[in-house]
């Protein structure tokens, strides 16, 4: 029935939210930076894809494959050029720098693309669906998005736990100075973390843009989804982030069933409830 359908939709949406949240969580874990421009990056990726498609005529999936690694490079450069310096300028500096970046990105997009809302055309794929066990409709796009998000999260988990560099990222988030002591170059480690963050948020932004419209001012709402997923799930755990994303997605979906205007509010209220009664999140980090 309708409610089960809503839960399924919410679940699938949750994977996407988790993908949004991963970058935010990673940057905070490793560098203690909350990137206020996080959501705006997703929107920049969407507009970039739009421009590439209309400029080169390449199919969407090619554009996605090009944009995501491009954002990884941008992330690395942004960290080395802009953020690294502000890290030593004091605790307030990075927050202000990323906030400034958010404002700059939003308004540059506004000037170049105007305030009109757009979507990325996913073609027939974006709107097709199949029936599951009776009356549950599952869209192909949401399903693929969810699977892709889980795959990316698993990939990052493997990177963090099995590779030397990934281990260093985790070590750096525990104790930056000692990580330097065993040979980690902080600038490089941070650069990698930022690269992953930018790439994942770009991917998430592109997938979201296929099912939802975007305009230069939608960045903050993406940031808020990411942030709420992280807080609900709990800091310090990738799977917590997935859970947080799913809880958020399901809540929004159920809220929408009650009243479409309640969609966002429902998510916010659950976030506030978690904040009030379990501020460490549903799945607190592995170590105390």
């Amino acid at each position: 029935m309708q409610w089960i359908n809503a839960v399924v939709q919410g679940l699938l949406l949750g994977g996407l939210y988790a993908l949004f949240a991963t970058g935010l969580s990673l940057m905070f874990g490793v560098m203690r930076i909350v990137n206020l421009a996080h959501g705006d990056l997703a929107v920049v990726a969407s507009f970039l894809a739009l421009a590439l498609i209309s400029g080169t005529g390449l199919p969407l999936w090619v554009v996605i494959v090009v944009t995501v690694p491009l954002f990884a490079v941008l992330g690395y450069l942004t960290q080395r050029v802009l953020l690294q310096g502000s890290l030593s300028s004091g605790p307030l500096a990075t927050l202000l720098v990323t906030f400034g970046l958010s404002i700059v990105l939003q308004n540059v997009l506004l000037e170049i693309f105007s305030a009109d809302t757009r979507t990325l055309d996913g073609g027939a794929f974006a709107t097709s669906s199949f029936q599951l066990a009776g009356s549950i409709t599952v869209g192909w796009l949401p399903l693929v998005t969810f699977l892709l998000a889980c795959a990316v999260l698993a990939g990052i988990q493997v990177f963090l736990s099995r590779t030397g560099l990934g281990r260093m990222l985790r070590a750096s988030s525990d104790d930056r100075e000692t990580a330097n002591l065993v040979g980690a170059d902080s600038r490089h480690v941070y650069g990698v973390a930022t690269a992953i963050a930018f790439a994942t948020v770009a991917l998430a932004g592109l997938m979201f843009a296929m099912r939802s419209s975007f305009d230069p001012a939608t960045g903050p709402s993406r940031l808020i989804f990411a942030f709420e997923a992280v807080v609900i799930g709990g800091l310090g755990s990738l799977w917590g982030t997935l859970l947080g994303g799913i809880v958020l997605g399901v809540t929004q979906s159920l809220g929408a069933q009650i009243d479409p205007a309640m969609t966002l509010l429902a998510g916010h209220l659950v976030f506030l409830a978690v904040l009030a009664f379990r501020p460490q999140g549903l799945l607190a980090g592995r170590t105390a």
């Binding site: 909350v34 300028s89 202000l96 970046l101 404002i103 942030f227 807080v231 509010l265 506030l272």
Partner: protein, 343 residues
């Protein structure tokens, strides 16, 4: 008398501890003269000048409140627009109930304090930078809640009742004076608060929180006081905005743009100095007027300047002035001078 008492007394006789340097006394007089001059403006200039100044005063007030919160309280909020909105809607609601709108402005500040108490309880559960985003979310929640109330105009906003009968010139002047009063109250309030015990506690916390806590300072209480004062100031500013524009729109009044303005003004002017928001607002305002024809580019430039200042000039413009000249118009610290006795 013990030996240590004796020594302390002797040492105290050798130094002269004061709040105000000579320059501060001079500047105090100058400021007073400036205030009198500004108050007289509606009699002297055309109303479009005073209308423009109202915007400047609101910016100064908002920036002072953000500076109080972040620069002195150490709480970086990107969600003060919540209280700007609550203040604005309070004025609307009170005016609908028959209260004279100008009187409703200070009442709006009170309303904001009432809302700020539970809000602070929630927001304080987030630490550091996550607090910033949390305040943003809370502002969004307030917007979404207000939009659902039809009596307040829903999604399209509402007009302000109670001022339509007034002569436009008089209304302009009254609005101007209320705005000026707002600025004096916020800047003055900041100054007085910071000179007192709360201020001392805050600066101790800002410098070294653990030590301050160990010295017996109730850190949370000090921060909460600052949060409530900031909410009140932002609420009053929201009230003035409503009185000035004669209407309210939820998307505009709860917009994070207000936070952007506050943050940039304070960052550029100088965070952690009472003078900072004043200087920053003037700079911002000038930029805004100069770049008025360039659409969104002015915000891009503003953002870029803000980034540059945050990165390379953490004390802002006033910090630069202070470092070079030692000038302090609103002294919140102490001057210790040796009185020159050789003992």
């Amino acid at each position: 008398m013990t030996l240590s008492n004796l020594l302390t007394e002797r040492a105290a006789a050798n130094v002269d501890v004061r709040r105000a340097a000579r320059t501060s006394k001079l500047s105090g007089g100058a400021l007073l003269a400036a205030v009198v001059l500004l108050a007289a403006l509606p009699y002297v200039v055309f109303s479009d000048v005073t209308d423009t100044l109202v915007n400047l005063y609101v910016l100064v007030a908002l920036a002072s409140m953000w500076n109080l919160l972040a620069g002195f309280g150490g709480l970086v909020s990107v969600g003060q627009q919540a209280f700007v909105g609550i203040g604005a809607y309070s004025v609307i609601a009170l005016a609908d109930l028959g209260v004279q709108p100008y009187l409703a402005v200070p009442l709006a500040a009170v309303t904001c304090v009432v809302f700020a108490v539970p809000t602070s309880w929630l927001a304080f559960r987030l630490r550091g930078d996550y607090f910033a985003v949390g305040t943003w979310v809370i502002a969004e929640v307030y917007r979404l809640l207000v939009v659902r109330v039809d009596a307040l105009g829903g999604a399209s906003g509402k007009g302000l009742a109670g001022l339509s009968g007034l002569d436009p010139v008089l209304r302009g002047a009254l609005t101007y004076w209320v705005a000026l009063a707002l600025t004096l109250a916020t800047v003055g309030g900041c100054y007085l608060l910071l000179r007192g015990r709360v201020g001392l506690s805050l600066m101790a916390v800002r410098d070294e929180e653990t030590a301050a806590s160990a010295a017996g300072i109730d850190v949370t209480r000090a921060k909460r006081i600052v949060y409530l004062v900031s909410a009140a100031g932002c609420g009053a500013a929201g009230g003035v905005i409503t009185v000035s524009s004669l209407s309210v729109n939820p998307d505009a009044i709860f917009n994070v743009q207000w936070s952007a303005y506050m943050i940039f003004i304070v960052v550029i002017g100088g965070i952690g100095f009472v003078e900072g928001p004043l200087l920053g607002a003037v700079v911002f305002f000038t930029l805004q007027q100069l770049l008025a024809d360039y659409g969104a580019w002015y915000l891009v430039i503003l953002g870029a300047v803000g980034i540059a200042v945050a990165r390379w000039l953490p004390g802002g413009l006033w910090g630069l002035v202070r470092d070079r000249t030692g000038l302090s118009l609103f002294p919140v610290g102490y001057y210790v001078r040796s009185s020159g006795h050789a003992r």
